[in-house]
């Protein structure tokens, strides 16, 4: 495997991007999960698809845009989607969750139209939906790395504010933290991570890489910091195992990564059950 990575540039790109995503997706995912925003991640990934399909259509019909990397419009669509979700959430104060199906359907709707307009997109479509080991270009990798720098800086500098906001947003506002602004930044960062992760795990499975490792970590951790570290560990194990299997058996990496993470989740649940019954046995 190592030899293959050293000799093929596309594998280097896929593995480097995968390792980066394995850190940032679960890291941001911890905040997404505790703030109960998992479905928003799903909605945004579908909006990203619309942006990518739109970009492919544009690059076919407008000659000067022929070489445009579809990730850029994907990112733009995702960020716009996150802003729209916030708008809708404040419009439907008592039905905040309505914003999610609205944006999700809009994403799929526009996506479907652009996909049918763009000629021959169906070949690439599979890769965009479920990820791909071979399609990650150097430029994609650089974009992912750039996104990672932004995400890590944001979380490093606003960690305590993000924590307080996630735990109890009324308290965050009452204590004078710039809660609104940080939440807004958080949504944009989420949109970036989703667009960035999409190349490897695919649109349909991006949100799983943000939530399943976190769900797994939360079974066994006590503190917030532990949850973050363990989520990243589970995320990386899933990405590495998933990419290797995908490469050897010619499978979609989104599938193998997510199935690995589900497998880890089951293992941890069983481990926890056994530990609990052992403890009970010891007491009895």
């Amino acid at each position: 495997m190592i030899e293959a990575i050293l000799s093929y540039e596309f594998l280097q790109n896929a593995f480097a991007a995968g390792l980066i995503i394995g850190i940032i997706a679960p890291l941001l995912g911890v905040f997404i999960v505790v703030r109960r925003l998992s479905l928003i991640a799903d909605a945004l990934s579908h909006v990203t698809l619309a942006g990518i399909a739109g970009s492919l259509y544009l690059s076919q019909s407008v000659a000067s845009l022929a070489l445009l990397n579809p990730l850029f419009l994907g990112i733009a669509a995702s960020v716009a989607g996150s802003v729209l979700i916030e708008r809708l959430r404040s419009l439907y104060k008592h039905y905040e969750e309505l914003a999610i199906p609205i944006i999700l359907s809009a994403g799929i709707g526009f996506g479907a139209i652009f996909i049918s307009l763009a000629q021959g997109f169906s070949n690439d479509l599979f890769g965009y939906l479920f990820g791909s080991v071979s399609a990650v270009s150097r430029e994609d990798l650089l974009i992912v790395a750039g996104i990672a720098v932004v995400v890590l800086a944001f979380i490093y500098f606003f960690f305590k504010e993000l924590f307080v906001l996630s735990f109890d947003d009324e308290y965050a506002r009452a204590s004078g933290l710039p809660a609104k602004w940080i939440h807004f930044m958080f949504m944009i960062i989420t949109a970036l991570v989703i667009a960035g992760s999409m190349r490897i795990v695919g649109i349909l499975l991006v949100s799983s890489l943000m939530t399943i490792p976190v769900a797994t970590a939360m079974r066994v951790t006590k503190s917030f910091k532990q949850t973050i570290i363990l989520s990243i560990v589970f995320g990386e194990i899933s990405v590495i195992t998933g990419l290797v299997t995908a490469f050897y058996f010619d499978l979609a990496p989104g599938g193998t990564i997510v199935v690995t993470s589900i497998f880890l989740l089951l293992l941890v649940i069983i481990y926890k059950k056994i530990m609990v019954s052992l403890k009970k046995g010891a007491i009895a």
Binding site: V34, F157, F159, F163, V164, F167, Y171, S175, S223, F224
Partner: protein, 255 residues
């Protein structure tokens, strides 16, 4: 004279359908231990939220520490324990220490990491609420009353000058309620922390407070608790409807 810590000037507030507060004026001076009393739905929580800047009054003005609330920057001087602090999502993976340290976020400032002394400060705040042995425990494994004490510790940790508490003892057992109010009284007396407390535990707080405000959309009484007996029966009736008997003896017993 020092400016009042909170100066509410003729404010009104209504939710979409409901009128909640009407022409309220009220000052909280340094050193006061004020209890805001009133029946359910009388606007107590709303008034506290206005003091905290969580909602904007539709009319009127608030000054905090002599500064217009809009321009007031030192929010860390104000500690807050909300009515339903247990409305935080209960499975949250965090330790007691992490949650209480959240109370230092504003004071520490944007772009700064929590200071090394945070651990010690958290330990002291936990000691003040009798939870020092729970520092490393996960918050989701605590009882409702224990969680409530953690939120009080979070409000105390930044050493606020004024503490605003909305029914902080809901879910705290009787014995600990006594201990809790003793703790508040000593914060007020020894550390000169001003206290604004919304509560229904009238009998328990009477001995410890200095001031009372009787609220039901408008202020029906505000002053030293010893003066409460000057309220007429009609005023009491307007304030609390029929269930006033319980409150009657507040002013009386200490007058």
């Amino acid at each position: 004279m020092v400016a009042p810590l909170i100066d509410i000037k003729d404010i009104s507030f209504e939710y979409e359908q409901t009128k909640a507060l009407h022409n309220i004026s009220m000052k909280v001076e340094e050193g006061d231990f004020l209890a805001i009393l009133g029946p359910n739905g009388s606007g107590k929580s709303t008034l506290l939220k206005i003091m905290l800047g969580l909602i904007k009054p539709s009319k009127g003005k608030i000054e905090l520490f002599g500064v217009d609330a809009k321009n007031f920057k030192n929010r860390e001087w104000i500690g807050y324990v909300s009515q339903k602090s247990n409305s935080f999502n209960s499975g949250f993976p965090a330790t007691v220490e992490e949650v209480v340290a959240g109370g230092l976020a504003k004071k520490t400032g944007l772009f700064h990491r929590l200071p090394k002394s945070a651990h010690q400060q958290v330990a002291e705040a936990l000691e003040a609420v009798g939870m020092q042995d729970f520092m490393g425990r996960s918050v989701s494994e605590l009882s409702g009353g224990q969680q409530q004490r953690i939120f009080i510790a979070r409000a105390l940790v930044a050493k606020p000058k004024i503490l605003i508490l909305d029914e902080p003892t809901v879910g705290v057992d009787h014995q600990n309620v006594q201990a809790f109010y003793d703790m508040l009284a000593s914060l007020n007396r020894d550390k000169n922390i001003t206290l604004v407390l919304v509560t229904h535990d009238v009998d328990t707080v009477t001995d410890r407070i200095t001031h009372v405000a009787c609220l039901n959309q408008t202020i029906h009484f505000h002053g030293f608790k010893e003066q409460l007996h000057t309220m007429s029966d009609e005023q009491r009736e307007a304030w609390y409807g029929h269930s006033v008997r319980k409150i009657h003896h507040i002013g009386g017993s200490h007058a």
